[in-house]
């Protein structure tokens, strides 16, 4: 389920936390980075690895919005629509993205390339409106800039 590099990292982590349960979030991040999402089998694997219950891992995965319990598109576009972004036109960005990708917020394109999500404040209020794709932030957006982001990713 996890690469050698990750397993080694887990050994290192053990020195940093007094319990294995505390490694739940870091290990789930490793799984998601390697597989894109966290399947029930992966949750079982993490539970065994950390000697915690499957229920515990399931509870954590479903509590935190950034863990995907299901497969999602290759590119996950997250658009902030909270107040600071809203005041600077995130509505137009959402409209443009939905139009360009042919999907609505919360949907994934049939070919599995795109997933579009509305998210809460990402801490980009000074450079609003914004969207994130993976770890990358795209800021001070306008429809033209959205086009260039999409073209680059495609």
């Amino acid at each position: 389920m996890l690469s050698e590099a990750s397993l080694q990292k887990i050994e290192e982590l053990k020195t940093k936390y007094p319990t294995t349960q505390a490694m739940t979030l870091p290990v789930l991040w490793m799984v998601q980075e390697e597989h894109g999402f966290i399947s029930p089998e992966a949750m079982k694997y993490v539970a065994d690895l950390l000697k915690v219950s499957y229920g515990h891992v399931f509870g954590v995965v479903t509590f935190y919005t950034m863990y995907n319990a299901r497969k999602i598109g290759k590119h996950h576009i997250e658009v902030c629509t909270n107040v600071s972004c809203m005041l600077r036109g995130s509505g137009k960005i959402v409209e443009h993205l939905e139009h360009r990708l042919g999907i609505k917020m919360g949907e994934t394109s049939r070919d599995g390339t795109w997933t579009l999500s509305e998210v809460e404040c990402m801490g980009s209020c000074g450079t609003a409106p914004m969207c994130a794709v993976g770890e990358e932030y795209y800021e001070n957006l306008n429809p033209e800039k959205v086009d260039s982001v999409l073209n680059k990713l495609q």
């Binding site: 936390y17 739940t24 954590v60 909270n82 107040v83 005041l87 990402m122 209020c125």
Partner: protein
Amino acid sequence: MIQSLLPNIADLHKIEVYEANGGYQALRKALGMKPEEVTDEVKKSNLRGRGGACFPTGLKWTFMPKVTPKPKYLCVNGDESEPGTFKDRQIFESNPHVMIEGIVIACYAMGITTAYLYIRGEYGKWVRMVQKAVDDASAKGYIGQNILGTGFSTQLVVHKGAGAYICGEESALMNSLEGERGYPRVKPPFPAQYGLWGCPTTINNVETLSNVPIIINNGWEWYSKIGAPKHPGPILVGVSGHVNKPGVYEMPTGVPLLEIIYKHAGGVPGNKGIKAVIPGGSSTPILRGDQLEGVCMDADSMKAAGSAVGTAGVIVMDEDTDLIQVIARIAKFYHHESCGQCTPCREGTGWLHKILDRFVRGDGRREDIDLLMDVANNIEGNTICALGDAAAWPVQSMIRRFRDEFEKRVHEAVPAEQVPA
């Protein structure tokens, strides 16, 4: 000597540059003092927390037991998820070492050997930047075993969250660090008695701890004279919304809001008037544009104006803003982020959200205005953590200060047969 949080020095995030500008001198100085003297210095400086509640930092540190058989912990709060807040990110990016230096000094003052820095999951890129800075600081012996040959040791673990505003609440953050769902804990017991893994724990915001080297370098007297006497020091103010130059600005506390908006942030686009300002992140009560005169960015002034400093995230709304849409969006946020433990918050935030959406659609009923107030009043003060209050305050203040906006959206339709001929 480091005298500010975000000095205009190129490449300050690099350890050599930070050192060349007096970085880590405060740590040397602190390690030459007695731990109690360090805490005393911070106490006398009157530094107050920048995480939202303005709690006196030195006082918080004195709550930690001196002698205990258990390990002691420091949690550094970098969850930064309050809408309108984007200042800690600036520290991670431009000056991570001032934060790291502050963390090590705090650990020394309280006899702590492990600190956890919790950074929100969305800041993945910044987690990497900070980890690099921590590694550089360890390589130079500023953190880790036997720091600068003094015999004092402490480690700093960077921990990445996974998307949950509630994990910024101190006890939820501790549960999250323990690998649990981010549910806030009932207090008391407070973290200084029963924190991480049941051990004595102090929690401070990233910006709060970044102030510590400045205090140690320059002395409490110098520091306490910056800005507002009862809430002194440099503060990072994030300005967003309808301004020409949105961004994070460092300034002394106590600067008038109007100066922040017009001088620092370049005023309102199109020279429009200001309808409203949220002064300290989405949970702080909204202020009317015509009541801003004389309101300053410090705890007392904001309190007198009927709001709060919060995270100093100033959101400016011009005269054409639809405030009903704004408050509905804020309500949606708290509904989404309520952890669901307490009934008043879990159910109440949903009610607020749904009723406010009625107003957005123009379907509000006259009695809904009082219903909103009633729901908000029943959440406030009735929950384990302050997320409930944070959800109630914006709604209460919006109704008090902008009741006319709600009234305009009331749907006054009656059945056709009741229309007078």
